[in-house]
């Protein structure tokens, strides 16, 4: 382990996406101060450029894979995959945030700055190879997103979302942190590799401390990915937060938290996997059931998508339960597909809701297909992907996840998971029915065509979903290579 005060060039390159995002965020804050809140649109464009550059930087960093900063981060294929996913999610959200914020007269540089900081935190979570880096990265992502949830500060719903998210998030963070403390006591280190080495001793050498640490770390991550029974915050927060922020919360933080979860549990805690796989099994099943059953009864579309995102976390948990490199690859693929389809669906909601989010009821979408056939068609594609219909990314996500589960011998979990996804079709289908088979509602009747950024975000997510459904090989191959995490 080098003890240099000055990071080398290649180390900086391996961290370049995060550096870029943080610098751009700070620049936005400064420019916001200088221009006096009049240049929101331009600052938004700058944020898009920064995210695009970070995307390229991730690819550049991937050309020099390896450890950096005393081994506390690892710019490997796994990190690159998740970096690309969370940056892409951030890019899409930033794209359709603009029209939404302008409608609420709230487009300012701070919004984009916080978005960039949050994405930077998520990128770092994906590459963190040491627990305290992981924790601080998680807090970076979280604290920024607490503020984003309450960004429309005059809105009572947004306040409530922010305070609930903040308090529960901090509560869960405290558990996560306690978990880090306990594993530090057990292993004497917070570097994942050293923890693994410490736990890999002969059977019986690990004390209950290791188990307790695994429990609390899992609780912390499960909170962020909204897995049962830690999912309680998600519906309220998604409903109350501004639609683009809800989209963001359902995508980036969730993917990044899964990245952290996978890396920690597939490397550091892999030697004691027998102690935690049972509980992950239960959590996966409970998450799927709670998400799908509750979604059946929802009429608020943001809440419905919240429960749906809980259910999808459950499917990814199935892949985690498999705890094999195939399972990890399946989880990665699923998350990539999930991020696009979910963000795309939220893009439609953010556009459709109108000022003050007046139209967020499923029935408000009635007859959308008549007024905006293209939007309806693209949304249908995304919904079909969420159902898991073939030729969409969502289908292959489920396919890989359940294949991995079967290879790990989890027959019952697979059967119950498939049953769940059969139930889930119902509530997505309800939206389809409403859009295509009802007379236009007043909400759909006076709907203007979507602004260009929303259109772009929608097309991009629909195309990504379709590409993942028709040509999944490339992505899966990459994920399979990346899934072999170095211990």
């Amino acid at each position: 382990m080098t003890h240099s005060f000055v990071p080398t060039g290649v180390e900086l390159l391996r961290l370049s996406p995060e550096i870029l995002l943080v610098l751009a965020g700070t620049l936005l804050l400064v420019l916001e101060g200088l221009t006096g809140a009049k240049r929101g649109r331009e600052l938004g464009r700058l944020a898009l450029v920064a995210l695009g550059a970070a995307l390229l930087a991730s690819l550049a960093a991937a050309r020099q894979p390896g450890l950096a900063f005393s081994g506390s981060i690892s710019a490997d294929g796994f990190a690159t995959f998740f970096r690309l996913v969370v940056i892409a999610a951030g890019l899409l959200v930033a794209l359709f945030s603009g029209p939404y914020l302008r409608r609420e007269s709230a487009e300012r540089g701070e919004y984009y700055a916080l978005l960039l900081y949050s994405v930077a935190g998520q990128c770092l979570m994906a590459s963190a190879n040491e627990l305290i880096v992981l924790f601080i990265a998680l807090e970076t992502s979280s604290i920024a997103s607490y503020v984003l949830a309450g960004y429309l500060r005059a809105d009572r719903r947004a306040n409530e979302a922010a305070v609930k998210y903040f308090l529960l998030g901090s509560f869960a963070s405290a558990f996560l942190l306690y978990g880090i403390a306990l594993i530090y006591g057990e292993a004497g280190s917070t570097w994942l590799g050293q923890i693994r080495a410490a736990l890999a001793g002969p059977p019986g050498s690990a004390t209950p401390l290791a188990g307790a640490a695994a429990a609390f770390l899992f609780a912390g991550f499960a909170f962020k990915v909204s897995a049962a029974p830690f999912q309680v915050w998600a519906p309220d927060v998604y409903q109350g937060a501004p639609a683009p922020v809800a989209a963001f919360l359902s995508a980036g933080p969730k993917a990044a938290a899964f990245a952290g979860l996978l890396r920690v549990f597939m490397t550091a805690f892999e030697p004691v996997s027998a102690s935690w796989e049972g509980i992950v099994w239960v959590s996966a099943l409970a998450t799927m059931i709670v998400g799908n059953l509750a979604a059946l009864l929802q009429s608020n579309i943001k809440r419905l998508l919240a429960y749906s995102s809980i259910a999808h976390a459950g499917y990814v948990m199935v892949a985690v339960t498999a705890h094999s490199s195939i399972g990890t690859a399946a989880a990665m693929f699923y998350l990539a597909a999930y991020v696009f389809m979910n963000v795309g669906a939220f893009a439609v909601v953010s556009y459709f809701a109108r000022q003050g989010e007046r139209y967020v009821h499923v029935d408000d979408l009635a007859g959308l297909a008549w007024r905006q056939p293209v939007v309806a068609a693209l949304l249908s594609l995304l919904l079909l992907s969420l159902i898991g219909v073939p030729l969409t990314g969502g289908f292959f996500g489920k396919f890989y996840v359940f294949t991995a589960a079967l290879e790990a011998g989890l027959v019952w979990l697979t059967v119950l998971g498939l049953l769940n996804s059969a139930v889930a079709a119902y509530y997505y289908l309800r939206i389809l029915v409403v859009m295509y088979m009802r007379e236009p509602s007043e909400a759909a009747a006076d709907l203007a065509a979507p602004p260009a950024p929303v259109r772009a975000a929608l097309w991009a997510s629909a195309l990504a979903t379709l590409i993942l459904g028709i040509f999944p090989s490339t992505v899966l191959e990459y994920a399979s290579k990346a899934a072999a995490l170095a211990p």
Binding site: S4, V22, L29, S72, A120, V147, Y151, T207, L209
Partner: protein
């Protein structure tokens, strides 16, 4: 001597901690919390962590809690009213918490079975120099990252608490 100090300050910490929880007046809770933090600072000293003890007093008791007290005063928050109720919290709360403490205690005693006695002065690397060296080598990235965290906190506070929203 060590044992006596521990017992005194551990008791103060525990009693103040309990007081944080049972007081209805937020300001009383805040003052109790300061009590906890102060006694923890002494315990840190006993464990040989001079720098952290100082930071505890300066950062926590000095800055964070001042902020709390200020907000409590600003909002003029009086004693809380026993409005509403959470069924789950009121029924499951006590057993859950008792279970949590019992489980943690079990785990700790199982993890540290042999009584290792804490003696003041046995650990001498808790000073600013050692800490600083670690911060700028192994933990350089985290250290830089915390500056981002503080920046976010500032930006967030500005976004949320800046005086007016023009809509």
């Amino acid at each position: 001597m060590d044992a006596l100090l521990f017992l005194i300050f551990a008791s103060i910490a525990a009693v103040c901690g309990l007081n944080v929880v049972i007081q209805r007046q937020p300001i009383a809770s805040a003052l109790s919390l300061i009590g906890v933090m102060g006694s923890l600072a002494v315990l840190y000293l006993l464990l040989g962590a001079q720098f952290i003890a100082a930071a505890q007093v300066i950062v926590y008791a000095g800055a964070v809690m001042v902020l709390f007290v200020m907000v409590i005063m600003l909002l003029n928050a009086g004693a809380e009213r026993p409005t509403g109720a959470s069924l789950v919290a009121s029924t499951l709360g006590v057993p859950l918490l008792a279970g949590l403490f019992a489980a943690l205690a079990y785990v700790i005693f199982a993890g540290f079975p042999e009584p290792e006695l804490v003696r003041f002065g046995q650990f001498r690397q808790g000073g600013a120099a050692e800490l600083g060296y670690a911060l700028f080598t192994r933990y350089l990235l985290v250290f830089e990252l915390t500056s981002v965290l503080v920046l976010i906190a500032i930006a967030g506070a500005v976004v949320l608490a800046w005086r007016e929203v023009k809509r």
